[in-house]
């Protein structure tokens, strides 16, 4: 099962996702130990592989640190669902092959602890706990292409 960890708040920023005091490393497993530490100290103890983070508007605002995406990915989180994402965080996620789900509605239909299933290609979130089904706009084709290539560097390597 993929459990939802809901943070019903806007502007969850990169300092909360991975505090700068841990930026002296870029090791993903090391960063994962501190994922969301300043937002929810207990997060890393309760998160399981494939779980989902749910946030409000402007998720990932602040720094350009890709470490924020790595910390989340390193914690084995499957995806983040938010009403909107901050620009650099969103771009970083695409560039390192991590799929994000932007949906203004989905957070209204997910409670903390709900079991969630996502169909990325068809573009819907299934809340198995409540039965709710919420559509979202899939990523644009160029972004999917980058993700399918395994990230931006693999993508640009093809034309080098």
């Amino acid at each position: 099962m993929s459990r939802a960890h809901v943070y019903n708040r806007d502007h969850i920023n990169t300092d909360e996702i991975i505090p700068a005091r841990y930026l002296n490393t870029d090791d993903e497993q090391e960063l994962a130990k501190h994922c969301l530490e300043d937002l929810d100290e207990g997060f890393v103890d309760k998160v399981a592989e494939g779980d989902i983070i749910v946030g409000g508007e402007d998720f990932g605002c602040g720094s350009s640190r890709e470490h924020a995406v790595w910390a989340i990915r390193g914690a084995k989180v499957q995806t983040v669902i938010a009403r909107t994402f901050a620009r650099i965080f969103y771009r970083n996620a695409i560039n390192c092959g991590f799929y994000l789900i932007e949906s203004p509605e989905a957070p209204d239909h997910i409670n903390d602890g709900d079991d969630i299933e996502i169909n990325y290609e068809a573009g819907y979130v299934m809340n198995k706990t409540t039965g709710a089904e919420i559509k979202f706009n899939p990523l644009p084709d160029f972004a999917v292409e980058i993700i399918n290539d395994g990230g931006l560097l693999e993508h640009v390597k093809k034309s080098m």
Binding site: N13, D15, N24, S64, A86, L153, K157
Partner: protein, 420 residues
């Protein structure tokens, strides 16, 4: 229909006649800025993918700044990875400790920023350079790796928002107050994915240093870039700072360029502003928060660590004593020496401040002034997020160098106009 400066620069970089907001382009990059936090990861990626090369060793500018001089063993390792890479590729503009400084103060000062160019950097405040009529934006490590290796990046052309700054600023009110007031009005995502184009009388009366304080914080409104038109002030700065290649192209927004939003501000009515915790959009006039007790004052950073900022603070601190810990951080070695030569260090020393080496340090809770649980800091930096300068239960109050200096004397948030 005409184009904005941002659109014109991106069209040129994409080798196209026109571009429109929302269009995806492949743009040629003119300058890539690299520092110690995000670049080592980019280097590792390039090595791992077997594309460990640089597109042009003259167009990559490298400076450690966040944790320099190294604050611990792990950051020393980051510096060593950066250093070995810069040497291996014989990067022309590699600023080592002693010449390294806070990147967004260093690059314009050392003549690396030209109008009409596309500049990217592995740091969100790379939008600073837009003050020079350049397109400039912050990127993460993967983008940085791609830019280093290929000199190109994909961009979605941003729509532009126009911010009209009418009137002249009153004494004691600075560009920092203006940008805090703007973000308080439009919010931390008010310009999400957009270009913030600043125009108006108040802007034309500002120095380049003051303008950079505003473009620096464009990201705090979610913007992709901040941008300002070229004028005599820009030209004077460039004449003084550009070293080798002194040529550049000046683009102006067309009269019929399209803006998604136009916001007008009467800058003559602005007062000193303080952004309360925990968002940069928490700005209120000083009158609404004066008297709040502080534990520390911080004067520095890519927002307000330039010589003009230090002069403003020194003028207020002259002959006074600070009531709280006060940390002054000249942003680059040149600014550091200039401040020393002008006698500002004597003023800071006599007032009881500490003067640090150029570093980003405490601005991001790294070192050199980190806050304990429950402590409050009035700071000239750009972010006041939870835990930004230290303990998650510490608080950051963003303000101008004048407000920070006046508050340092009183030990509480203080209107600087009483000291001017």
């Amino acid at each position: 229909m005409g184009m904005t400066i941002t659109e014109k620069i991106l069209a040129k970089a994409a080798n196209k006649k026109t571009v429109r907001p929302g269009e995806l382009i492949d743009a040629k990059i003119d300058v890539v800025m690299c520092h110690d936090v995000t670049t080592p990861a980019a280097i590792s990626m390039l090595v791992e993918k077997g594309i460990d090369k640089v597109f042009d060793k003259d167009k990559i500018v490298v400076t450690p700044d966040h944790f320099q001089p190294a604050k611990d063993v792990k950051s020393a390792e980051l510096h060593r990875r950066l250093d070995r890479w810069a040497r291996r590729h014989q990067i022309t503009h590699y600023y080592e400790l002693g010449r390294a400084g806070v990147c967004h103060a260093l690059l314009p000062e050392q003549g690396h920023i030209r109008p009409g160019e596309v500049i990217v950097g592995g740091d969100s405040h790379t939008c600073t350079y837009g003050a020079f009529a350049a397109f400039s934006t912050g990127i993460g490590s993967t983008d940085l790796a791609a830019a280093i290796a290929t000199g190109k990046l994909w961009f979605k052309v941003p729509a532009s928002m126009k911010l009209v700054l009418n009137g002249s600023l009153a004494p004691g009110v600075y560009s920092k107050d203006v940008i805090l007031a703007i973000i308080a009005r439009i919010g931390t995502d008010g310009a999400l994915y957009q270009a913030m184009e600043f125009v108006g009388l108040a802007l034309s009366e500002m120095s380049m240093e003051a303008r950079m304080t505003m473009t620096n914080m464009a990201i705090e409104a979610g913007a992709k870039n901040g941008i300002m038109a070229f004028d005599d002030t820009t030209k004077r700065y460039l004449d003084e700072h550009l070293k080798d290649e002194k040529e550049y192209t000046v683009y102006e927004s067309d009269a019929d360029a399209a803006y998604v939003r136009v916001e007008e501000f009467d800058c003559s009515a602005f007062e000193p502003m303080v952004a309360l915790p925990h968002l940069p959009s928490g700005g209120v006039p000083i009158g609404d928060c004066a008297g709040e007790a502080m534990d520390q004052a911080y004067i520095g950073s890519c927002t307000n660590g330039r010589i003009e900022d230090l002069r403003i603070a020194a003028k207020i601190l002259k002959g006074k004593k600070v009531a709280i810990r006060t940390i002054v951080v000249p942003a680059t070695p040149t600014i550091w020496k200039q401040a020393m030569d002008e006698g500002l260090f004597d003023i800071f020393y006599d007032a009881g401040c500490v003067i640090s080496a150029p570093t980003c340090g405490a601005c991001l809770g790294g070192f050199m002034g980190v806050l304990a649980e429950g402590e409050k800091c009035v700071s000239t930096t750009n972010r006041n997020f939870v835990g930004r300068m230290g303990h998650p239960k510490s608080e950051v109050y963003l303000a101008s160098p004048a407000t920070a200096a006046a508050s340092a004397i009183q030990g509480k948030l203080t209107d600087p106009r009483g000291y001017i």
